[in-house]
């Protein structure tokens, strides 16, 4: 798949690394050159310096041919704007935005933008762990433990 990721913070860089390793064509966009240092060594995708809410930058990132777009900057509003441009102007089929405010996350879901709220996902998981509710994060915890082990292995 052709994948565009807006925002190369920890989450964006991690996802870009995972997807590139799985053989997808990944382009990751960020305003700050230094943020690309979050990417794993030997990252097989493309980096692009620019503003992810700028249509010209998104075009340069290959959004017109993208199968999926993730917007993962630190700003909810930037993520929602970039996601809407991807979905409604460029017609990208799968668009997912990171939106930490649960209320905005729910509202934009009603308007055709898939949203993931770290606040509620992490919060729900933590509560489940405390209550010993194994079902809630079983798969998630297994997968993230594997990824963490791989990352630690690559470093050391």
């Amino acid at each position: 798949m052709n994948i565009v990721i807006v925002g190369c913070g920890r989450v964006g860089a991690f996802l870009a690394g995972q997807l590139a390793k799985a053989g997808h064509a990944v382009t990751i966009v960020d305003l700050d050159r230094g943020s690309f240092e979050h990417l794993p060594r030997g990252f097989g995708g493309t980096t692009l310096l620019g503003n992810g809410t700028d249509m010209d930058v998104l075009r340069a990132a290959g959004i017109e041919k993208a199968d999926a777009v993730f917007t993962l900057t630190q700003g909810d509003n930037r993520n929602l704007m970039a996601a809407q441009i991807a979905r409604q102007i460029f017609g990208v089929k799968r668009v997912i935005a990171k939106v930490n405010d649960p209320i905005r996350a729910a509202l934009y879901r009603e308007h055709d933008i898939s949203t993931v709220s770290r606040t509620t996902i992490l919060g729900t998981l933590l509560e489940a762990m405390l209550m010993g509710d194994a079902e809630v994060g079983k798969v998630l915890m297994e997968k993230s433990k594997q990824a963490e082990a791989t990352m630690a292995g690559e470093l050391g």
Binding site: G75, M81, I89, D101
Partner: protein
Amino acid sequence: MYFVIAGGGEVGFHLAKALLEASHEVMLLESDRRRAQVIAEQLGSVVLNAPADEGRYQLEAGCQRADAVIAVTGDDPVNLIICQLAKWKCNVPRVIARVNDPKNEIVFKALGIDETISSTRVIMNVIEQELPSGGFMPLMPLTGSHLELIEAEIAAGTPSAGRAIGSLGLPEGAAIGGIVRKGAVVHTDDDTKLQIGDRIVVLSPTKDEAGVRKALFG
């Protein structure tokens, strides 16, 4: 009327002040506590110290009964989300967004925000108006239509000077709405002849802007 202004920078502050002076009711949302305090000291209790991009504060500011919400922060994505929330959550009949990057006018329109103000574009228009070859300036789009207002000045040597309006070959759907001649508005019909020094206001489909320019200036 009741206006909610999002963002208490220079634009928001002076807008609030002007609206209050015009006897309107105003609530200004500003997330920075000190800035909110400074504004409250000058304008009175018309400031809510809270971020306008969160639905609950829009509700607290009374957006449900607002005639318009105007988002004038210096951040385009913030202004977009404020306007969308106001429309979707509070059913505000009119939302206006400031855009800093003029390219975002198109983006905002595509995402359902029809009224935008770009200070960059306004300044560009002023600069273009100063150009000797100018004499032709799109003033503003008309809300809810594909029409815009254009102002033009007929100078010595302008091909349309001395010609009747009906003979100019204006694009279909474009019309001269009025002529300002020696400071007074002149009634116009097809037989009215344009004179040197006339300032004319044209109502035109946005797509025919170039056609209007051609009919007037050759």
